[in-house]
């Protein structure tokens, strides 16, 4: 089984210009991997909202791929979002779920029902175009280009083992990130029609 850090390294390497939205523990690892750039947004203080933020961006910017770096506890907090994403069916939307069965941020408490639910089955039943389960970094490295080349929405469950703490919480605000990301989009002539 891979660690979050292993998975993040592969995703950072294979991101290929995709817009990213991070949640909870993935935020720190993503920033530590140098990915907290102007193409990234952290879902801060709104556990469960990363996929909705990513969905909005994906709908507004269909020419850009959007990758959401979510947690299993986060997804369970707004599980209906799977249905909402599937209903909109954004072909540029890729939903990565780091699954360790824990509320890591609050002290590693166990998720309710861990071991009984199946995130891939939930996504498929909700209407995602595809759901993939990956438990090691080499498999993720092999599959990632093909996944990102295929139409979304795709849910990719990343089975991860406990990891060492990465870094302190990044010193960014959503407001700053949103301003930078929106400015980037508004400078893109493709978005002019939406202004």
């Amino acid at each position: 089984m891979m660690t979050r850090k292993d998975a993040v390294a592969v995703l950072a390497e294979g991101r290929n210009g995709a817009i990213s939205v991070g949640a909870m523990q993935a935020i720190m690892a993503w920033h530590a991997a140098g990915q907290g750039t102007a193409d990234h947004l952290d879902a801060l203080g709104c556990m469960g909202s990363a996929s909705s933020l990513g969905l909005g961006i994906a709908l507004a910017r269909p020419q850009h791929k959007v990758i959401v770096l979510d947690g299993d506890g986060c997804l369970l907090m707004q599980l209906g979002s799977l249905v909402t994403v599937a209903a909109q069916a954004p072909t540029n939307f890729y939903h990565f779920i780091f699954e360790n069965g824990r509320y890591e941020t609050s002290g590693n408490q166990a998720l309710p029902g861990y071991g009984r639910f199946d995130l891939c089955h939930l996504a498929a039943a909700a209407g995602y175009r595809r759901a993939v389960s990956v438990d090691d970094a080499s498999a993720l490295r092999r599959l990632l280009p093909e996944i990102l080349a295929s139409p979304g929405p795709v849910l990719i469950r990343l089975g991860i083992a406990p990891d060492e703490p990465v870094t302190p919480w990044p010193k960014v605000t959503m407001s700053e990130q949103i301003g930078a990301l929106r400015a980037r989009f508004l400078g893109d002539p493709v978005v002019a029609e939406a202004k």
Partner: protein, 205 residues
């Protein structure tokens, strides 16, 4: 006392953080007057709204019926108000001009997300909020229904400016509020006091 024309109420907290919306205090109108859903849709279109994100609301079902058969703005129905706020922010980031259409009960359901995205991150978030359960013959703060009675105090507590849409004369608040919200950032609520009147030819089930 009743107010005529667009009414904005600002709590001191909201005024301090936004420093923009003109504030007029006072009780809401009674009785509340019906407004044609077509007139509300016209105002939404005049504000160049691109997307209406909704968890359906009974007061606004006639408007929802119009939106459902309209290509613009695009109607996005979601499962929770938390999702609606997140999608609104994502669309805004991408350059669109979205807004929310929800119910008073839904506002209570999404307070944490309201805190994080519209308030803390200052994302423009216009929310049409139906006052489900409101007794039309009395001011909202005197309503026996808790969801109705507590709505304005809740908005004030959280520093969310709001307008009341309680009669045809208030319709101008929609465009004005949308413009102000985009300029200032943060949330803005527009409270729908009475069920919107059905447009002729629209069958509401």
């Amino acid at each position: 006392m009743s107010e005529h024309g667009p009414v904005a109420m600002n709590h001191e907290h909201a005024t301090a953080s936004r420093n923009s919306l003109p504030g007029v205090t006072g009780p809401s109108r009674s009785p509340v007057l019906p407004i044609d859903a077509r007139a509300v849709l016209a105002e939404i279109r005049a504000a160049h709204v691109t997307h209406v994100i909704t968890v359906p609301d009974t007061h606004q079902r006639t408007l929802l019926a119009l939106l459902a058969r309209s290509e613009s703005p695009k109607l996005i129905t979601v499962c929770t108000e938390d999702e609606a706020i997140g999608i609104n922010a994502g669309l805004y980031i991408g350059g669109a001009r979205p807004m929310l259409l929800i119910q008073n009960n839904g506002l209570y359901a999404c307070l944490n997300t309201l805190k994080a995205i519209p308030l803390d991150a200052r994302v423009p978030t216009v929310m049409l909020i139906g006052e489900h359960g409101r007794t039309l013959s009395m001011p909202s703060r005197e309503d026996p229904d808790r969801a109705v009675r507590m709505l304005e105090p809740t908005l004030e507590l959280w520093g969310v400016p709001y307008y009341r849409l309680e009669g045809p004369g208030d319709l101008g608040c929609l465009q004005r509020g949308f413009t102000e919200c985009l300029e200032n950032g943060g949330p803005l609520a527009i409270l729908i006091g009475a069920p919107l009147a059905a447009a002729s030819g629209v069958r509401i089930l």
